[in-house]
């Protein structure tokens, strides 16, 4: 008789989900699924709203990554207005987006994942939290919180507030940068670099302990997708779309991100509200690909900033030119963060950054627009259609967590096959199954706009629905 293990909902990810693991009569894992169990109504809410309101509305999708939606949405409206923001306006958008990358990456690594890395996957669950990290390694906890606070301050200074900031508007940004704000952000750069470098040094010292996890946490061949600049380096704001295969060979290169529908399809499964995106030429479900910090490093030639490129070289020496294990998202996230801090400094030191030409204005010139940028968790696409009066008729969001959906499912299967033993639910298995999901740092607020409940409820079910075993914490 087959069995199903259900982990519902998953802890320490943003929003709601559950995991089911299907066992056969011998207790072997036959299948596993990562379910998103709440429906996101955002595409429906915005129908009939003036398109100029879209960035402000979309920023309210998520309290963790509002800037990402703000940026992608503003770019989609730019497309409808048929305008390009002035160069300084675009750079100020880049700046706030990089502040978002810093704070969100810091949340993922230091708050969500460092407890596993510091105490181990077999540690007492009551110890695997940020307070215990602060007791065991105060510097690590302080660095994580300090880095996040700095990223949030950049968002607040440029966007007016930390959560659901404004500042970014169709055509550019609302206000030019003031010299004192530039100087205030620049003053924090040295400490931010030191904080990330300490974390990287700590991670590199400890990473050898996790060889087994690196070999089983989503270690498979897949494609990767991200944005790159004209040199092929990491670009978090614009540039071209690049998709590479598991060997690093370009499947799509120098592509206009607005043409993403040519390459990316969306499939729906009955067991989840989260859509599964796939690389069209390979079809569904074979067209699996990954996005986010690991993908950004895998698709790019380099990051384009010196300290991050030094670390990228070591990263590739350790894990290969194209890192195949999702466990390495943690390492990649730190390098991504270091690059973001360096890029913030570079942008702020550009002589034109105080220019007052930051916004272009126009009316409705097209009935369709697409905006694409890199969110902390990966490539984010906003696609709108409007009527001649600029009222939204249709909207579709292709979010990073959707791009990674198939990869997350395959990763859960891989971990479950390696660690699930028998029909009893055991803590080390539970945490490893959850931990592999955390590698992707999925944001289910973006996926569903959930209202939170983060208890852990694990059920072992027979095929007829009888509960054979259940664990709650």
């Amino acid at each position: 008789m087959s069995r199903t293990i259900t982990i519902d909902p998953v802890t320490r990810i943003e929003g709601h989900s559950k995991i089911t693991i299907q066992l056969d009569e011998r207790g072997e894992v036959t299948d596993a699924h990562f379910h998103v169990t709440q429906f996101r109504g955002f595409e429906r809410i915005v129908k009939g709203r003036p398109v100029h309101e879209m960035p402000a509305i979309m920023a309210r999708i998520c309290g963790i990554c509002p800037v990402s939606h703000l940026v992608a949405s503003a770019k989609a409206v730019d497309d409808i207005l048929a305008v390009d923001p002035p160069p300084t306006g675009a750079d100020l958008r880049r700046l706030i987006n990089l502040g978002q990358i810093v704070q969100s990456n810091a949340l993922s690594f230091f708050h969500l994942s460092s407890p596993d890395l510091l105490f181990g996957f077999d540690a007492d669950p009551s110890k695997r939290n940020i307070i215990a990290v602060a007791q065991q390694n105060p510097q690590l906890a302080k660095d994580g919180i300090g880095l996040r606070k700095w990223g949030q301050e950049i968002i607040a200074l440029l966007g007016g507030k930390r959560i659901h900031p404004g500042g970014i508007v169709p055509g550019g940004v609302a206000d030019p940068l003031q010299p004192e704000v530039r100087d205030q952000i620049l003053a924090g750069v040295p400490e931010a670099i030191a904080q990330v470098q300490r974390a990287i040094a700590w991670y590199k010292t400890d990473m050898m302990k996790w060889e087994e996890e690196a070999s089983t946490f989503g270690n498979f061949r897949s494609a990767f997708m991200g944005l790159v600049d004209e040199k092929g380096n990491v670009d978090h704001y614009g540039g071209d779309l690049r998709i590479v295969d598991a060997d690093g060979k370009a499947l799509v290169d120098r592509a206009d991100p607005k043409d993403f529908n040519q390459y990316i399809g969306e499939a729906v499964e009955p067991w989840s509200y989260l859509k599964s995106t796939y690389y069209k030429p390979m079809g569904y479900p074979d067209g699996i690909y990954r996005v986010g910090p690991l993908a950004r490093l895998n698709v790019a030639e380099a990051t384009g900033t010196p300290l991050a490129d030094e670390e990228l070289q070591k990263f590739r020496w350790r894990v290969g030119r194209v890192a195949g294990s999702s466990f390495h998202y943690h390492y990649a996230r730190l390098i991504d963060t270091l690059h973001a801090v360096e890029k913030i400094e570079r942008i702020l030191r550009h002589p034109d950054i105080l220019s007052t030409h930051v916004k272009a204005t126009a009316g409705i010139n097209r009935n369709e627009g697409i905006g694409v940028s890199e969110a902390p968790r990966g490539t984010l696409m906003h696609h709108y259609k409007v009527d001649d009066n600029g009222l939204v008729e249709w909207a579709n969001l292709v979010i990073a967590t959707g791009h990674n959906n198939m990869a997350m499912n395959r990763s859960v299967q891989q971990v479950a096959r390696h660690h699930v033993k028998g029909e009893k639910i055991q803590e080390p298995m539970l945490n490893r199954v959850e931990a592999v999901i955390r590698c992707y740092d999925p944001c289910l607020s973006c996926s569903t706009h959930a209202l939170g409940d983060m208890a852990l409820d694990i059920q072992l079910l027979s095929p007829d629905g009888e509960i054979l075993d259940r664990v709650r914490r």
Partner: protein, 160 residues
């Protein structure tokens, strides 16, 4: 002192903390240099550092368990759960639902300073997608302003 109202204004009554913070920010009794009123989407880890800088933290939030429009005050400590999430999860189980107690504990671990903290929970009726508060919750807002203002003034008097 820090007064923080938080919640999701696109989930109707879940946004009552934010709405309360907007009113508290213009309340004459709280117009003092030592009182900061903020509205936010959710509690976040770095707020531990803000907690460490004040002697009183007041968290104004929706309470899914209480009667719509009712107001309940609970002291927050590192050992006493202050929200649904705290009551169910291990400390630090989620960044999305980091609790006030967790932030008090984190402030103490990182800085050695531990503020007095109070959770002001407002019972809600409707947390579906949409904007605006239900009538019972909207009607409770003047009482929320009064209760929070009393709390702050009492704390000031105790300090004197």
């Amino acid at each position: 002192m820090l007064v923080l109202g938080f919640g999701n204004t696109l989930r109707r009554d879940d946004g009552v903390g934010v709405r309360a913070a907007e009113l508290l920010a213009t309340e004459p009794r709280l117009m003092r240099a030592t009182v900061e009123v903020r509205a936010g989407f959710q509690l976040l880890p770095e707020m531990a550092l803000d907690f460490a800088d004040v002697t009183l933290v007041v968290l104004v939030d929706a309470d899914l368990r209480a009667l719509p429009g009712s107001i309940e005050l609970r002291p927050i400590s590192a050992d006493a759960p202050d929200s649904d999430a705290d009551a169910r999860a291990e400390p630090g189980a989620s960044s999305h639902h980091v609790g006030g107690g967790e932030l008090v504990a984190l402030a103490a671990e990182l800085t050695g300073r531990r503020p007095e903290a109070v959770h002001v929970g407002i019972g809600v009726a409707d947390t579906e997608l949409g904007e605006g508060l239900s009538p019972a919750v909207e009607a409770a807002l003047p009482r929320v302003v009064r209760v929070v203002s009393d709390l702050v003034e009492q704390h000031l008097a105790d300090d004197d």
